[in-house]
């Protein structure tokens, strides 16, 4: 019987669709990118080809530090995805972005501090595969 590989490459649980591939790939390379509209200036999240402000298609992938504040959170005592089994309990925070306050993004919040509404955070990208990265939140 073959021993399990301890150096097995990490596997993503999903793949991006044709529109969202650049979002996940940017996170894999270490940065958060959000689409910004060249026409109306609105930011759009989750990623898609249609602008949330003017519904046009003139969006540009734009790096951002993801600065924002915790709007809400849960402490997950059960894994909310198979690759979180060894992380429980972990905090999932819903973060309101400074660049446009109607954007709320969920992500694991990595901190030793007591979590509270209004806590300042920024994005931290985590490599899963070369195509798929993950957005985590860390204190600013």
């Amino acid at each position: 019987m073959q021993a399990p590989r301890t150096d097995a490459p990490r596997r993503a649980l999903f793949s991006g669709d044709r529109d969202t591939t650049p979002y996940w790939a940017a996170l894999a390379k270490g940065g958060l990118q959000i689409q910004h509209c060249r026409d109306c200036g609105a930011w759009t999240w989750p990623p898609r080809l249609i602008c949330s402000g003017c519904h046009g298609e003139n969006l540009e992938w734009t790096p951002t530090d993801g600065a924002g504040e915790v709007y809400s959170w849960v402490v997950s005592h059960r894994p909310g995805a198979p690759d979180y089994v060894n992380l429980t309990p972990y905090v999932v925070a819903l973060v309101r972005l400074d660049i446009q306050p109607d954007i709320l993004i969920p992500g694991r919040l990595i901190t030793d501090q007591e979590v509270r509404q209004g806590m300042r955070v920024r994005a931290q990208a985590e490599h899963i595969t070369d195509e798929i990265g993950r957005l985590n939140w860390v204190p600013e």
Binding site: L13, F14, S15, G16, D17, T20, W24, W43, T44, W45, P46, S52, Y71, S72, W73, V74, V75, S76, H77, R78, P79, G80, A81, D83, Y84, L87, P89, Y90, V92, L94, Q100, D102, I103, L104, P106, G107, R108, Q117, R134, L135, N136
Partner: protein, 391 residues
Amino acid sequence: MSKRQFPRGEAAIVGIGCTEFSRDSGVSTFTLAARAVKAAVADAGLKLSDVDGLATFGATDTMTPNMLAQALGIRNMRYYVDQYLGGSVSMSIIGQAALAVSAGVADCVVAYRALNGRSEQRKNGSTIGSGSKMPWDIPFKLSPGAVSPAQEFGMIARTHMEKYGTTNEDFGRLAVMCRTHASDNERAMMRHPITLDDYLASPWIAEPFRKLDCCLESDGAAAVVIVSAERAKDLPHRAALIQGAAWGGGVNIVNNGVVDLAETPASVISKRLYETSGLGPKDVDFAELYDCFTYTLLSQIEGYGLSEIGGVPDKLADGAYDRATGSTPVNTHGGLLSEAYIHGMNHVYEAVQQIRGDAGHRQVAKHDVALVTGQVGYLSGYSSAIMLAGA
């Protein structure tokens, strides 16, 4: 310009049927659906050959109308709905069926939901589809490890706690109430009574939610028969007239445009439902509200005007929603929290049984007008609700 008017009271629910609710049905959703539909048609005093429409909903886990019609010998299908999604759309198929019947497109539509929600396709996120079968928004929830509804609704509940000072004890009182209502319900999966201490001792799932904040996962099916109000007069039971139905609304947090999650999205559907039915919160004798979590029960009590915003804790302390003594009994069967998770169709079953006066020792004193709702309006970005009135 549209009339914006639902055909008030022109269609009615005249038959109800269900299977046993369990953790493992041992049969397919095909069989569950067939059993519930047969039971509902028999209860209505009709034959399967009278059925010319079928309506269901689900997320790839129910039996579709085309297959079911062939199995049951329904040769003259004139109307069908196979609505994608879950509890948020549960009441929309009743509204659709009523529209079809009142328009004369079909004479007899059976609305049903069948699922093996515990033994096959679970609702806690652990059996979500993969690859191209995955709903579009799921990667954005899988990535942060938050695909379980308990996590998403937990984050939403937290915003209400922050804004209004709502506590876990308030959620706990709702859990205790539903369990009390289920304790003498022969259909209920969870019948042993619980106390607030039991609630507070139950393990965290996604803090602020404990295990007892979360609804059951169930196998089973429920079905209701819808015909015109005119035809209902010749059938054996007191008809439950469909006085109003509304669907749409809602917010999806995987989208920008979200401003304040603490404000109940049910208020959108509530306003339309009351307008179109010509009834208001004070007319509601009892309500069966979609309680996938304790918090969504609270959110809908607010959204349908059965309490002021932020006022549910005080109302609970007064027992306002208790089945035996409350001014507006809520979830008289124990709801999704304690009866079973039949995705809201069990709420319709209970409402019709109460309207008929057939609920036995569960019977509420005033039972002429019932509010029945689907999911409050988070998660998918939809919601739905109906208003029933005894003929």
